[in-house]
Each structure stands twice: as structure tokens, then as C-alpha cells.
Symmetry: D2
Subunit: 353 residues, 4 copies
């Protein structure tokens, strides 16, 4: 199925600023239409959710894991983390971690501290985790680390290597910590040309992870996959209490079924990353530096103010931060449905800078 650029057009601007600009992959709309008037039980107890859970377990090679479907990412993060921690425990994360910066304190609103560690390109190391845990061990005046949160891909588009992931997981197990992988963009992470982590590795080296739908072709939805049965005890109570239990839960099942069918999810990830890599090469050819050199669908080039001005005449990009008096970092995103035409136009514009 060819995805064409949207025609009707309220906005002539080409948007490459984020990966949740459009609706959903057509196969999802098709399923929603096809099943629209079927009557199913609510709250994710329907057969579509069962099918989708099976498909996810298969795709991530974790036949024993529990699968739950939630509406959004912040919700999934706060539900998982507050289910996992005792009241005096906190969650170690990179200072750039989504939970630490962009969720309006949702984790703290459930009573838990984000224990931020200085990240390198959005990543934290097993050693940082070990040191932080040792520092706060058995001191009842300090928050006790109870979980490690990493994102894959990270908020700055980078990915953990397999050895980094294994080391983190080993360290977590040594120190009695849960490892949680936020996979809001896991489909893009798995497509990273420099990455060596597989879907099966994701499931193998953590206690719980999410598989993001919103940024990967669903209308909305995040699957929470729980490998460690300790974390699954009455998890549905947590989902309900935190507001994440969808009455018409099948909508989530239908979407994830569609995305998992014939590996569509992973294809969409690869396509977007291929596009991003072409843009990356064009930027490098032009000598544009990067804030972080990322191998996934999010790029963070540094432009002069003048370059920014020229690009933003035609393209909507995301401001990521001022680098110095005359330079800014912008985020350029491709996604599951970025039209080829947009990529080509953007590359052309870079060449002309």
C-alpha cells in the first residue's frame, strides 16, 4: 500500500518536526472499519487483545511475558514505575530521560523521585547505575534506587548496543533493580544501521518494556510487556487506577495486531530510518555538525541562525536548543509515513544552504 502525501492541505508547510503528525497506517483504519459494529467485552478482555498479545510475544520472542495495552506513553511510564516501586524507592534514568524532563512530573505525582544521572548522548552506563546504587545503599535518609529506566531509542535518537544493554541488565540484577525499557520508538531503534540489538534482545534483557504504537503507525497506544512476573501482580488494577484502561480496549488490540502482521511494525521502522539516514548523509555532505550523531529517525543537526531561517520557510522543524549565539540545534524527524517527496525536498533544501 503506497502512502501518499496528504492532499487536502490546510498547511502548505512540510512537517518534519516529529513522528506523530498523521493518523495511522491504512491497515489499521481498515480493521477498525471492518469490525466496527462487532460487540466485544470491554477493558481489553476481548479476543483482539488476545491476538495482539500473542503477536507481540511472538515478535519479541518472549512467549511467557504478560502483555497489556495502554493508551499513551506518559501513562504507561507512570503505571509501570509506580507498580514496580515501593514508596521510598526512585527510578534511575538519564537526565534527558522522557520521565525526567517531558512528563510534567508524572512520576513524582505518583510519589517517586527520578534519580537523574548525567547521560552521554542520552544513554547511561552500567557503571553509573552501580555507583549510584552503592552511594544510596542502606541509608534510610536517601531515596533507594529500585528501577532503572532507559529509552530505546533514546530521546536524542541514539541506541544502546547489545553489550551496553546486557551490562545494564546484569548490573540491575546484581543490585536488585528492575530494568525498564521505554520503547516508544523501539521500532526505529531496531532499525538503526549501527545497532546490534534485536527484538528478542529487548525482551531478554529487561524486566519490562513498552512497544510504542503512537509514533509507529498507530492512532495511539503503547503495549506494556512484562517479562518479570513480580511486576505483573494485579497490574490491571494499576492500569485502571492510573486512568489507562480503555473501555473499548479492542481498539488497542486491533491496532497492535495490524502492526505486528507480517512484520509491518519493523518495516515501518526501517523505512523511516532509511529516510533519516539519507537526510543525515546530505547534512554531513554539507558539513553540518550534529548535537548528537543518531542512527535512528530523529536527527539533531546544528544550523546557523541564517540556515534555520531559510529552512523554516518551507519546513516545520523542532527547536531543540540554542547552541551558541549564532547556532541552534533542531530536530528533524522522519516517521512511518513520511512521504518520499518530503525527504527529497528537504535534501534538496539542504544542498542549497
Amino acid at each position: 500500500m503506497t502512502i501518499m502525501p496528504y492532499q487536502k492541505g490546510y498547511d502548505p508547510m512540510i512537517r518534519l518536526n516529529c513522528d506523530y503528525l498523521e493518523g495511522c497506517h491504512p491497515s489499521i483504519l481498515h480493521r477498525l472499519s471492518e469490525t466496527n459494529l462487532e460487540q466485544t467485552p470491554g477493558y481489553g478482555t476481548d479476543h483482539y487483545c488476545t491476538e495482539a498479545a500473542d503477536a507481540l510475544r511472538k515478535a519479541f520472542s518472549c512467549p511467557e511475558s504478560a502483555v497489556h495495552f495502554l493508551v499513551g506513553g506518559t501513562q504507561a511510564n507512570m503505571t509501570v514505575i509506580s507498580a514496580a516501586l515501593r514508596p521510598y524507592e526512585g527510578v534511575l534514568c538519564a537526565d534527558t530521560g522522557h520521565i525526567n524532563v517531558h512528563e510534567t512530573g508524572a512520576i513524582e505525582s505518583t510519589g517517586h523521585k527520578c534519580l537523574a544521572l548525567p547521560g552521554k548522548d542520552g544513554c547511561i552506563t552500567a557503571n553509573q547505575v552501580a555507583v549510584a546504587t552503592a552511594l544510596q545503599a542502606d541509608d534510610e535518609h536517601m531515596v533507594k534506587p529500585g528501577m532503572v529506566y532507559i529509552s530505546m531509542s533514546t530521546e536524542v535518537g541514539t541506541v544502546y548496543s547489545l553489550s551496553q544493554l546486557k551490562e545494564l541488565y546484569d548490573t540491575c540484577k546484581q543490585h536488585g533493580l528492575y530494568l525498564f525499557i521505554d520503547g516508544a520508538r523501539v521500532g526505529y531503534a531496531l532499525a538503526a544501521p549501527t545497532g546490534d540489538v534485536t527484538a528478542a534482545d529487548i525482551a531478554k534483557y529487561c524486566d519490562v518494556f513498552t512497544v510504542g504504537g503512537t509514533k509507529m503507525g498507530a492512532l495511539f497506544g503503547e503495549a506494556v510487556i512484562i517479562n518479570n512476573p513480580e511486576l505483573n501482580v494485579r497490574f490491571r488494577y494499576m492500569i485502571k487506577q492510573k486512568g489507562g484502561m480503555l473501555a473499548k480496549g479492542r481498539l488497542l488490540g486491533l491496532q497492535f495486531s495490524a502492526l505486528m502482521e507480517d512484520g509491518l511494525y519493523f518495516q515501518l521502522g526501517r523505512k523511516a530510518v532509511d529516510q533519516a539516514m539519507r537526510i543525515r548523509r546530505a547534512l554531513m555532505d554539507k558539513g553540518i555538525p550534529f548535537l548528537v550523531d543518531s542512527p535512528t529517525n530523529q536527527l539533531f543537526p546544528i544550523f546557523t541562525d541564517h540556515q534555520q531561517e531559510r529552512l523554516e520557510a518551507d519546513f516545520k522543524l523542532e527547536f531543540n536548543g540554542r547552541v551558541d549565539e549564532t547556532h541552534v540545534a533542531l530536530r528533524v524527524c522522519t516517521s512511518w509515513c513520511t512521504p518520499e517527496e518530503y525527504v527529497e525536498k528537504f535534501i534538496e533544501a539542504i544542498k542549497k544552504l
Copy 2:
């Protein structure tokens, strides 16, 4: 547009147990398809949300009110209530109130006590509010009432009359309380043949109310309409923190636009209530008593165990509670899309009891 019973059929059982069994009104699917690949800004800042907000303000005659879109009802309730209350304040509600019974303590999870009052047919009175507030006034050892929560229609299908609503609102204003109307089923409430409250009254006699989508023909979604500007201060921060801010916010805007167009929302409500009233008459004709005599889409007849067994051979109804050793109360629900055929079959079955 004729709604036909679902054909494909995984389940030969006719479900009349709740009002969120199916997908959505076809006009919503149509809009989603039509706009699917349009690029819009996220988080409800798009033009569809603006249009839907305008349509809601018009439909409820509250041109100055703020409108926000959230994914689900529990989420909407916890966001509104925790935004409104100071930490030591609680929310007065009927003991049968959804927040008190069926949200897994979501309100308490935000730190606030549900101050349950014994309801009569799911309703509380202005006098009860006045007495409770007086009892707990200025005693710093007790939770201070800060808000009154009522549901319209209530959890047992009843509605407040206009004079009851006005009195409640007046009492709230006298005592410095906010009045919050949970309108998860407001479309059914407004269609109650014995009711005298209009859409405009809903908006006029409270500080904040919701307009439910999930049970009224949307895939999901609740509109929060804030009449009292005090409650609107940085309300979007609250939505985000509580996990209710949808990345592709336009999905909510599109749905509410569709539902508000040409009064569709209210038509759907009337149709379902008409169907329920026909079922009610059939039950009464048969001499079946009711737990509560409700004028909306939810009925609570009391059957003998034998009657229950016979009905449940063909119909899925919801168990509401055992009345005595040989009788049970069941919930029978119609909805925005209950096929006529189902209603007729159920009435026939009643006659045969």
C-alpha cells in the same frame, strides 16, 4: 444512516450489558479516514480540536467556557478533581458515585478523599451537601469538602431534575464548593422523558462538566468543559501529568466534531432512551419490578433466578447484585447503536418469561 447488527459474528449472544460494546458511529470512521494523512500539530492544539470545542460550546450554550479533550472517564475525573482541590480537601459524592466505587481509588491516588453521602436512587441532595459541609467546617482534623461530584445520568440511570440541580449549585456557591457534573452519559440523561434539564442547564448550573464520547458513539474520549475560569488555570499541565494528553489530539477533536454535527450526539441519546423505554414498558407489563426506576438507557429490573437463567441463554446482561435468595438485579443497557432487532428480540423474550 442505518446501523445494522454486526454480521461477521464471533459471538451469537446479543449483548445488552453495557453501552460501550461496539466501535464508533460511522461518521467518525469516515472523518478519520478522510483526514488520516493530514499533518497536524500535536496534543490538541490542532484546528479539529478548535472546531470541536466551538461546537461543544455552542451545543451547551456556554460560549465562554474552556474545552479540553481527554481520553477516558476515570482520567477525566481524576484530572478535574485533583486540579480543583487543595491537598486537604475532599469531594462529596453519592455512595454509588463512579469515583467512589468503580475507579480503583483513582481519586484517592491523587491524595483526595471521596466523602460519600448515602444516595437516593444514585442522587444526593442540596441539603445533604449543606449538612456535610457544616459538619466539617473549620475543623482542621477533618477533610474539608471542596467539590461536589454528581453524575448525569447517574450510575443507576436516574437524572437530577432542574430544580434539584439548581439547588445543588446554589448550595455549592453558598459554601464555596465547586460543582462537577460527570457527563459520561449526559446524552442519555438529556433524553430522559421525565427529565427537564437541558444542555444549556448543564453548563449553566455547574463549574465544570464532562461530555462523554465513549458511551455515546465515539471510539473513546471525554470532553471536559470548564465554566469557572479558576479551574482552568494551567489545566493542560494537569492533563499532561495525569497521562490524559493524547499526542494525536486531533483524534478527539475529529470525533467530537462529528458527534456535535447537526445534533447527532443528542439524536443518538434519544434513540437509545426510546429503545430503553420500550423495554421498560415491556418489563412493567410483565410485572417485573425495578431496583431503581430509571428514565434513561440503563434499566435495573429484578428477575427471579429462573428468569435470569432463561434470559441469559440468549442475552448477555450485567449482574448488578443479589436482591434476596431468589432474586437478582440485572442491568439492561441500550446504546447509540443498539439494533432495533435486538430490542425486539429482548422484548419478545420478556413476554415469554
Copy 3:
């Protein structure tokens, strides 16, 4: 040591309104003076706390239990309950329970719902617990009971019998609930002439209980005694986080050591209850009815408005509630240090009514 009525006298009124009007038993002041300039480690890690913990374990015959010292009762309750419950769990209690009524929603402020059951004279039954637990079992839309909270003596001065206590404990164990006894007034409860529960029973038939200091002769302080080791895991983190860890923790150890020495705590309880029983007889002789007939240091007689007016000319009593248009219930309290003279004067006043 004879306790004499306070002489200096800012207030000629005799106060019988509560049991925390004065400072502390002289033996406590003596110990504080004697050890004042000793240097000890902080936060309850000193030898006085160790001694006091041993003394409590001995007095309550629970050699394996863990003992912690907290400053106040609300603090102790919220710390114990929030340590025991998972986020979606609530605590069953009598509707008159201190946590439900007089702690400004402290329990809810930690995220947990008080699941109030209608009490009979301040007590709840094993059957009520069993029914409530069954009703809410395995329904993820409802708060799950995780603990039962009872007070001994209760907020209305009554006590549980040994068989009631055993039944409650058995029921809790059958349903996987913790049983928590709030012993803010346990010294008075154990002195009830109609009671058959011993100190050892208190420890034997619950998972955790408190031994109140504040109302029993200490300046302040509650001992938390944890019988069930599950509840003791990192409990000191909970104490610190909830603000209950006293820097100069030895102050609590010193006080409880003094109170436990030679059974002083229990003697003080008996003395106060003896006094209350004399007042009770005088009231009965006079034909004064009671709201609740309580066998401990708190009495709840019902007076006519006229009687109240006459008594309150000389005595400060506590208003407990209006009974009808011409009658009120008042609380009359004796305590560890009520002067004999006050009791006699009050009995005389009753006779003259």
C-alpha cells in the same frame, strides 16, 4: 509518686475533655533531666531506644517483633498503612475510625482509600470484613482491601473482646489482609473491667500495632510494633519519608522505657479507668443515658441542654454531637493524671444535677 493538681493556674476550669491535657509522668521528666547532656547517636539508633524496644517486647510478650518509635498517632497510622498497602489497596475500618474521620485525610494523602464499614459502638466484625473483601475481590475496577484497621480502645471508648479479636485476625489471615491495631489508648483498653484481652493477645492477634504514649503519660510518642516481618522491610525508610523520624530519637526511647518500668504504663491505664468507672456509676445512678456504654477512660453521657449548661460552668467537657433538639452527647475523659479531687468534684456535680 503522688500526682497533684496543677497549682499555678491560668485556668480555674477543671478539664475532663480529653486525655492529653498535661505534660508527662514525672518519671519521664526525671529521665530526661538525668540524661540531658549525654551524647547519643541520632534517629533512634541509641541504647535508650534499644532498651525501650526490649521492654515493649517483654510487656507485650512478642520477643521477635520489631519496634519503632514515632512522634505522633496520625504519623504512625499513615506510615504503617502506606508501608503495608500496594497502590490499589485500601484499608477497611469502622466509619468512626480515627483514620477515616479525624486525620484530615492523611491516609488518602498517601494514595489509599479508607473503606469505611458501619461500626457498632465503634467496632467492626469479622463478618463485615469477609463480606467486604468478597465483594471487591478480583475486580480491578474497585479498590482491593489490603488491611483492616481497628482501634483498641475505639474512638468511642469500647473494646473488642478476645473472641472478636481472634475472629477478626483469622478472617484477615484467610483473606490475605493485614490486621493493624491502633493502640493510641491501648493502656486504657487493657484496663477495661469488662475486657478479656491481654497485652500478649494484642501482639498475638495482629500483624502490627501501636502502643500510644501521648495519651498515656508521655510527652509524645507512639511505638509501632511489627509482628509480621513482611511489614518491617525497610520500614525506617517509610518513617523518614513520612516525617516521623525524630533526630533526637532517644527522647522516645527514654519515655517508653520509663513507662514500661515496673508496669507503670498499665497502672496508669487502670487508675484512669477506675476513675472513669466511678464517674460512670454516678451517671447511671442519676439516670443519665449514654450514647455508647464504654468500659474505658472515655465516657459519652447524654445530657439535656440544661444539664450541659450547668456542668460547663465548672468543667470543660467535649462536645460529641447533638442527639436531639434538647439533648447533647458529651465526652468525659479521665487520664493517667486526672487528680482524684477532679473526679470527686465532677461526681458531686452530677449528683446535684
Copy 4:
């Protein structure tokens, strides 16, 4: 009144590790004894609390401020901060701030994020506050700064200058932030030889501050002084809910009255700081470097491991952190009751290093 070293002696070690090792100033014990059997109303509504509040208002030149008495520091911090902030707001503080490091996440347990800024010698600047506030302004995906928390003296013994304090306060007012000064050691801060802030300045340049008792000669207790009436609205409800309302509230009033009488509080501060300055000089004479050069009762000298070993044979000091492979930073504390003899012995020991 001469304070003599404690004689009875369980521990021959001289403790200079913290400032809450002993009981209280003898004048406090005297008052407690003198008033012990007086009957007073509870919860801080007695005349001793009124007197103490007046004395504090006078001592800090803030005749219009509200004064409340709480038991401990963590409790005071969490009560003040959770009373001040809306749910989506956080509190800016130094990364070394007590609330950020040593309160087991008490602030987060009330739902609020500590927004830690990198401190310089324990202090943060007005510019840091302005930048952080600007960065997070009007972005509903981020926690909004609502308050600035500073400590005076800081956790590393330093003090803000008057101009720094004024600037911070001005910046707070410009950005709609409350300024909160944690004065757990304000008596030592005001005695800093290099400091220019007066008691009146403390009250003048913030919205709320605490005056610590625990570390300044009281058995326990922190006064919360609220200059900004917005923060005082139903503050007593907050105290009760957070477990900080002492039943026998007069104990706090009596202690603060005693400490404020004839400027005792400030004398005790000066004496301790004088002692610390003599130790500081001895250390400097010996060429011992400092982690931070602090002008109050807490010193942070850096010793070789060998020096540490020798000192710790006779003195209990507090480990503050390893500086490099052969050096450690220790905390040396004087207090309101450090015997002269201890100071002399310690200085002698330094000389011998």
C-alpha cells in the same frame, strides 16, 4: 548557666559529628517541669504557643507573620512545600539541598519534583533561578517551578550574603515564585563572622522560613514562619494531614519561648560558631584544606586517611565523602552545647597531627 560535659558516660568518645547529640538547653527542661501538670488545650492552641509566636515575630521583626510549630525538619519542609505548590509545580533547590538528598524523597512523596540546580558551595544564584524558570515557562510538558528552596546556613555550612538573598527574592517575585528559607540552622547562620544577613532580613526577603529548634537547643521542633498570607490559608489542615500537629502542642511553644527569651537562641548560635571558628583556625594553621570554607558551626576539612585514623581514635566525626584515593572529607560540628573542653581537646589533637 554553665553547661558541663556529660558525666555518666556510656561512651568515652567525644562526639563532634553533628549538632543534635544531646537533649536540650536546661532552661527548657526547667519550663517543662514547672508547667508539667498544667492543663492546656491541645494542638498548639494554648497560651504558650501564642507567647512563643509573639517572641519569634519580635525576634525576626515580622509582626504580621503567621507562626506555626511543627515537630521536625523533614515534616516542616514537606508541609510547607506541598501547601505552596500546585500539583504540576516543582521546587528549585541546590543539588545539595536537604530536600533533594536527605529526606528519602519526602517532597516527591507529596507529588512534587525537586528541580535541582548545581550549587556552588551549597548555594544557588538568582540567575540560575531565572534561567531555569525561563526554560520551563509555559511548557505544559515540563514541571513548572513554583518555589525556590534555600537553606540558611546551607547543608555545607555556608551562608548567603544579604545581596545574594535580596537578588534571589527579587527574582522570585519577578517570576511568580515563592522563596522558602530552611532555617534548621538559622541561629548558626546569623552568627557567621563573614555574614551580613540579620534576623530581620531573613523574614523580610522570603515568603516563608523555618526557625530550627532541634539543632539549636530544643529537644525537637521547628517554627514555620509565614510572611506571605497566601501560604497561610488553612495551613493548619496541612500540618495535621502531614502528621506534624503535636497533641500537646504547648511543648513546642514552651521550648521556643525559652529559646527566644533574652536572645538565648542567638547567643547559643554565636557560641557554637565561635568554637567552630577556633577549630577552623587550628586546621588552617596546620595547613589542612577544606572541601568548602564555611563560616558556621559545620566545618568540612579534608584529611589524609592517616590523619582520619588518628583523629577517630578519640573523636566521632562524620564521613562526608572520599576526595581522592588518600583523602577524605569529614564533617566537624559544634553546637549550642559543645563543651569548651571538647573544643580544646580537638584543637590539641589537630596540632599533634
